[in-house]
Symmetry: C2
Subunit: 254 residues, 2 copies
C-alpha cells in the first residue's frame, strides 16, 4: 500500500528558516513517526524561500537580450532577465509564454520563477520573485540527512514543482531534485510473467511519485507544501535529477 | 490521506472476461469495501484483453504506406499497419521509434500497441498484438457503473497506460480514459493564501493520479493491473479524456 499524507502544520516559511526542524515538528504534530523507506516530498516554494532565493524586481537591470525577448513574450524585461539568468536555452516564445531549458537541465516555463508574496518585508509585495533552489539535489540531500539523523531511519527526500507538458493540457508535479531514492528504474532484462522481455525499459518513478505528491498538495500549495510518503514500492538508493533529463540527441521534440 | 492499494488477486484476464466481476472479487479478497469517492485505476492491458482487442499479426495485410514506413522505423510492416490504423497522424519516425497521435487524441509510441502473450490459444504466442480499448472513456464508464451498482457508492474509474515524454527520460503512467472523475481541475480565479490570483490555472489531476497508480502497479504490471484509490482530494464529477488533450494550435512542441 502506498500512502501519502499531506503535512498540515507547516507555518509560512521565511528566508533562513530551518526546514528540517519545521518538517520534524509537522510530522510530530500529525502523529507520524518516520520509518525506514519513507520519503518526504517538498514543494519547491518552501525550499526556495527557506534558502532565501528571493529577488526584488526593482534590483534587476535587464540586458538588451532580455529587453528584446520581453517584447516578444509581453513580459516585464526585468522578469525576463531573471529567467534568462536561470536558463541555458530559450526553446519557445509566444506572447505570454516563455519556455526554456533551465540551467538544471529540465524544460519548463519561466525557468520555474514565480511571483512571491512576501508580507512584512516592506515595499510593494508584488515585486518579489522566487527562483528555484540553487541546487535542488543538494537541498534534498541536506534535508534528508537531517531527517535521517533525527529519526535514525533510512529516508528519501524530493523537491517538486508543477510543469506543463507537450501534447497534454494542465500541469503535473515533476521532480526537480532528490536524494536517497531512484529517479529512473531500469527494467531491462526483467522477464514478464511469461518469461518474455519487457518492452518498456525505464520507468520515471520519481516523476510518478511527484505526480502523486502534487495531487495531495493541490495547488493552493502553500497550505500543504510537504507530503509524507510510505510504501514507495522500489528499493531506496542514491539518485539524482540528472537520471531524468533526456539528452538532447535523444529528444525528438525540442 | 491518499491511499493506493494494488489489487493482488486478479487472474490472467482473457477475452470476454467480466472485468467488473473480477475487480469485485479482488477487492473482496483484499478486504476492501468500496466507499463514496473511491476510484479504481486499471492497467490498459486487462481492459484491452477483456474486450478482445487482440490481433494476430498473420491476419494483417500491410498497405504500401505501412511498408514504406516500416523500412524507416525498422519494424514489421504488419505491426506498422496496425499502428497506422489506430493513429490519426505520424509525428516522428526514427529507426526503432514510431511516435503518433493516436486516434483518441493523445501522443504516444506505436499507438499504444504492444506484444501480447496469449497462452493456450495455439499458434506462435509471439504473433499476437494488443490494441488499446476501442473507447477507453466508455470502457471506464461501463466498469464504473457496474461497480457503483454492486456497491451502491459513488465511484470513479480510470484506465492508464505508460507514456514516454518530451524532455525527460522514462515512462510515466498517463490516463487514456476515465469516468466519474475530473481530468483537469481549473484553479482560475481561486485566490491563494494572500488573496492573489494563482498563476497556474489548470492541474491535470487525472494524470497525477495515473502516475501514482502506475507507481503501485510497477512494470511487471500483469501481476498488479488494478489499483484501488481512497482519498482523492478533488470532488468527483463527470469527466472525459478530451479534457486532457492539448489542442494542436496550443501545442508548441509538435
Amino acid at each position: 500500500m502506498l500512502t501519502l499524507t499531506g503535512l498540515t502544520n507547516i507555518p509560512l516559511v521565511q528566508p533562513g528558516d530551518d526546514l528540517p526542524e519545521i518538517l520534524l515538528d509537522a510530522l510530530d504534530h500529525d502523529g507520524i513517526t518516520l520509518s525506514d523507506g519513507d520519503i518526504l516530498v517538498l514543494a519547491q516554494k518552501i525550499v526556495s524561500k527557506a534558502e532565501g532565493r528571493l529577488v526584488a524586481l526593482s534590483q534587476v537591470t535587464p540586458s538588451q537580450e532580455a529587453c528584446d525577448l520581453a517584447i516578444k513574450v509581453e513580459k516585464d524585461p526585468r522578469f525576463v532577465e531573471l529567467v534568462l539568468r536561470e536558463s541555458s536555452q530559450v526553446l519557445r516564445t509566444r506572447p505570454g509564454t516563455l519556455i526554456v531549458e533551465h540551467r538544471l537541465g529540465f524544460v519548463c516555463a519561466n525557468a520555474g520563477i514565480d511571483h512571491s508574496n512576501m508580507q512584512g518585508r516592506g515595499g510593494d509585495p508584488e515585486e518579489w520573485f522566487l527562483l528555484l533552489p540553487e541546487n535542488p539535489d543538494a537541498s534534498a540531500e541536506r534535508i534528508r540527512r537531517r531527517l535521517e539523523e533525527a529519526s535514525r531511519k533510512r529516508l528519501g527526500a524530493m523537491i517538486i514543482d508543477s510543469h506543463g507538458r507537450a501534447w497534454r493540457l494542465g500541469v503535473v508535479g515533476a521532480s526537480i531534485g532528490f536524494s536517497g531514492m531512484p529517479g529512473l528504474v531500469d527494467m531491462r532484462g526483467q522477464p514478464d510473467l511469461f518469461g518474455y522481455h519487457l518492452r518498456i525499459t525505464e520507468i520515471a518513478v520519481a516523476d510518478e511519485l511527484a505526480g502523486a505528491a502534487s495531487l495531495v498538495m493541490g495547488q493552493a500549495a502553500e497550505s500543504i507544501p510537504a507530503v509524507h510518503v510510505r510504501g514507495f514500492p522500489y528499493p531506496l538508493r542514491e539518485g539524482e535529477l540528472h537520471e531524468l533529463i533526456r539528452p538532447k540527441d535523444r529528444d525528438l521534440f525540442r
